[in-house]
Amino acid sequence: MTGVVLALLLVQGVGADRTKPPTLPPPPALKLPAVRTATLPNGLQLSVVESHKVPVVDVSLVLDGGAARDPADLPGLATFTALMLQQGAGRRSALDIADETAFLGAQLSSSAGFDVATVALHVPTRRLAAALDLLADVVLRPSFPDSEITRQRELRRTQLLQQRDEPVLVANVAFPAIVYGAAHPYGRPLAGNDSSVTGLSRARVTAFYGTYYRPNAARLLVVGDVTLEEARRLVSARFGGWARGDVAAASAAAAPAPTPRAIYLIDKPGAAQSVVRIGHVGPARDTPDYFALQVLNTILGGAFTSRLNQNLRETHGYTYGAGSAFSLRRAGGPFVAQASVVTAKTDSSLIEFLKELRRIRDEAVPAAELDKAKQYITLGLPGDFETTAGAASRFRDLLIYGLPLDYYAGYIDRINAVTAADVQRVARRYIDPDRFDIVIVGDRSQIEAGLRALNEGPIVYRDLWGQEIP
């Protein structure tokens, strides 16, 4: 090709300039779907986000019956109560509910985290009314038959046994148990444990349900191919008769006193990898540092190019992926840095983890890295609202934590306002390497000597539940 022709092509924009990334036009403006609300006379708050591109509707009912409400003697009650909603309700048996849900092409789930219980429905629009009949039955009229309580309790007993085989699940239970201890609700396993499962009874489930499953302490979110008027009509007809109840505000348990750094070893003989969890108690969702923490975590371990993943995966090849998270709940949830690393590099991995967790405190983040993280968060936000389930997840957070429904309109500006100094300040405030609980589930015979040689803290043996070994 002659130079003249090439130049002509470039002028016409046909050939690509590969030597540098293309200059991009400005990003599209954030167009958020509108939220409209209505409150039923019994106090049930309804929020509707209309989206008519696909004939489906996503419904979530958020209830103030999370596992932080579990009695100290019965961890697992909140998740078990949520599970039991579907095991018989109104005139429908457990099998009827399963059959009718599937026949409607609906997905119906009921589960509990620490802060709330959630009953969720995803269904084609044309089956919405019938599916809401089902939803109303399981939420308002669960029968909790003794036979089904026994059946599900025995199934859970088996699942708790099977959980021992999954090193990641073991770590996910043991880490909070070690960080919080049994006196704090966040230290107890969501599904309970081998001994508590025996205490799951009809009386305990009925009492928990009667106390916390109340309209005035619930939020109903409908996202999809329906209008507010239609949703209000459908919901009022089914949930209007739900009786109010006094639901006391959740009292936040006091965080445990911080302890000096230690390495807790949970033996998993023959394990090909060590599952690593490093952290301590972190802030609550209502922290004024929320936006700075989002930026901090994106830089540290919240994206593929974050420091932890780049170091442990892309530089050293010790793992398939490393990351970090702040679990922002009503009370201070855990901060954790984590990865599954090849057994032979467990000690080397810990060195790199600690290096990154100290560096984010000690050095200001360079401008390019800060900008990348902020852009990743802000420019990626519109995509979160693409599907009904995605939008529901975003709006549910606002309902759970009592945030204003126009919260996302200001989100981008608040992320953009975060400075390198803010990131360093919150890193120093919320990440404290001297207080880390380092929990490792792995083959003790292969990893203990190397970990000991690091001299990063005493080695403490724990069982599969994170408890002291007698």
Partner: protein, 461 residues
């Protein structure tokens, strides 16, 4: 399916093997598209959807673990990882950094039949996405180094540890495949490959593989989202038009495989409770009976209203879970059925009930309601899949999927129609032909030192 990063793995698994039918939709499902082929052979598929200001780019290369040779298993997936390590104009690490700075995400995945790569980002980032993707299609070889190969070899070996070796029952699948297929058949090994073969891969293997398979004439590019077809076409031509065509690709087409006898095997694993796996040869993707096999799987084990869940988990309470699926691929299909025992029960007890229930379906077929329930369930999944342009299983990926398997990108409604046509009599015939009257692999995974819990060959007592 084996993916580049774990974050989207659950999603990927939810979409893999998904297929879908209906009764509820009044309108016909349509995904309008434009399709053309560049002079270098690259197939381009464009779909416009302005509902959200995002765009997705999804490239399918027509190569997977089914194209590997003995001694180099796992190579197609290892190569997928190397595609992110930089190309001539994109220094190592910049692929991800530039995309994230533009608000985008990406991932890749490998199956037996194909390897795909997607980027999802705000619509203004489309030129960047195409610049990145075209650079690695056209200009990867000069940048491949032994260090990069070694590094991703380590990552992939850790992926194998994390997803297979360090998980209970994680080695079951490869133990099934090697009994279902002869060693020469490329489906006889798993996509992730073996540790030894991953270790053996050389720099020259990587270069050869790229030159053979990573050519525009062996790929399709789908662009879907908030962009006009005219803009998308111009950008596709600009970035991909000058990449030279490669050699014509020939792919293995091994003869069909049938088991001539039942095969029993036992694997001891670090598990608390034993699990039995049954596997049968069935039909390829989109072959007759492929959709009917999906319906059969749903009737047998799709959720808590299915026959096997009801018998084994709910009524008899001897199992903790049951799974069944049809997996139709390019060269062959298989049907798998797994049941996990509760403590105190042998796999023989479970297997007897499995055989009873399969026998009942083969003798009397399912009810009309059971088939409708399956159809409604599939149809709803299908609708939800229409909500997204990007990621695994979004519209861009599906357009490429249909283009690859049936030659028509907008095959959504016709795919759905396959399921709507399935009758109870079809399911009965299929249960008999492919399961009850066919030979199978029966793999028992039992706790170490407990071989007596395994299924014994022959009729279960």
């Amino acid at each position: 399916m084996t993916t580049r990063t774990l974050s989207r793995l659950a999603l990927a698994l939810a979409c893999a093997g998904a297929s879908f039918p209906a009764r509820l939709v009044a309108q016909t499902l349509r995904v309008p598209y434009e399709m053309f082929t560049l002079p270098n052979g690259l197939q381009v598929i464009l779909h416009e959807d302005h509902s959200v200001p995002v765009v997705s780019v999804n490239i399918w290369y027509h190569v997977g673990s089914g194209d590997e040779r003995v001694g180099r298993t796992g190579f197609a997936h290892l190569f997928e990882h190397i595609m992110f390590m930089g190309s001539q104009h994109v220094p190592t690490g910049e692929f991800d950094r530039l995309l994230e700075a533009a608000g985008g995400d990406n991932n890749g995945s490998t199956t037996e039949d194909r390897t795909n790569y997607f980027e999802d980002a705000p619509a203004n980032a489309l030129p960047l996405m195409l610049w990145l993707d075209s650079d690695r299609m056209g200009f990867l070889v000069p940048e491949i180094t032994a260090e990069k190969v070694d590094l991703q070899r380590g990552v992939v070996q850790n992926e194998r540890r994390q997803s297979y070796e360090n998980r209970p029952y994680g080695l079951a699948e490869e133990n099934i495949l090697k009994r279902l297929y002869p060693p020469s058949h490329p489906y006889s090994w798993p996509v992730i490959g073996s540790m030894a073969d991953l270790q053996a891969a050389t720099l020259e293997d990587v270069r050869d593989f790229f030159r053979t398979y990573y050519t525009p004439n062996n790929a399709s590019l789908a662009i879907a989202g908030d962009v006009t077809p005219r803009q998308a076409r111009e950008l596709a031509e600009r970035y991909f038009g000058d990449i030279p065509r490669g050699p014509t690709v020939t792919r293995p087409t091994p003869p069909p495989v049938l088991l001539t006898a039942d095969v029993y095997a036992t694997l001891e694993d670090r598990v608390q409770t034993p699990r039995v796996y049954n596997a049968w040869h069935t039909q390829k993707a989109f072959a007759p009976d492929d959709a009917g096999l999906d319906v059969l799987a749903n009737v047998l084990a799709g959720g808590r209203s299915s026959r096997l869940y009801r018998r084994l988990v709910y009524e008899l309470q001897i199992a903790s879970d049951v799974v069944a699926f049809q997996d139709g691929s390019r060269l062959d299909g298989k049907f798998e059925l797994w049941v996990t025992a509760r403590p105190g029960h042998t796999l023989g007890e479970l297997q007897r009930v499995v055989d009873e229930e399969v026998g009942k379906l083969a003798d009397a077929g399912p009810t009309v309601r059971e088939v409708q329930r399956a159809q409604n369930t599939f149809e709803a999944q299908f609708l939800s899949r229409m909500e997204r342009v990007g990621s695994f299983g979004g519209k861009a990926d599906q357009l490429s999927f249909y283009a690859y398997f049936v030659g028509t990108p907008d095959y959504f409604q016709r795919d759905l129609d396959r399921y709507l046509k399935v009758t109870p009599a079809d399911v009965q015939r299929i249960a008999r032909a492919y399961l009850a009257d066919a030979h199978r692999v029966v793999l028992s995974v039992v706790p170490q030192g407990k071989p007596e819990l395994a299924v014994q060959p022959g009729v279960q007592p």
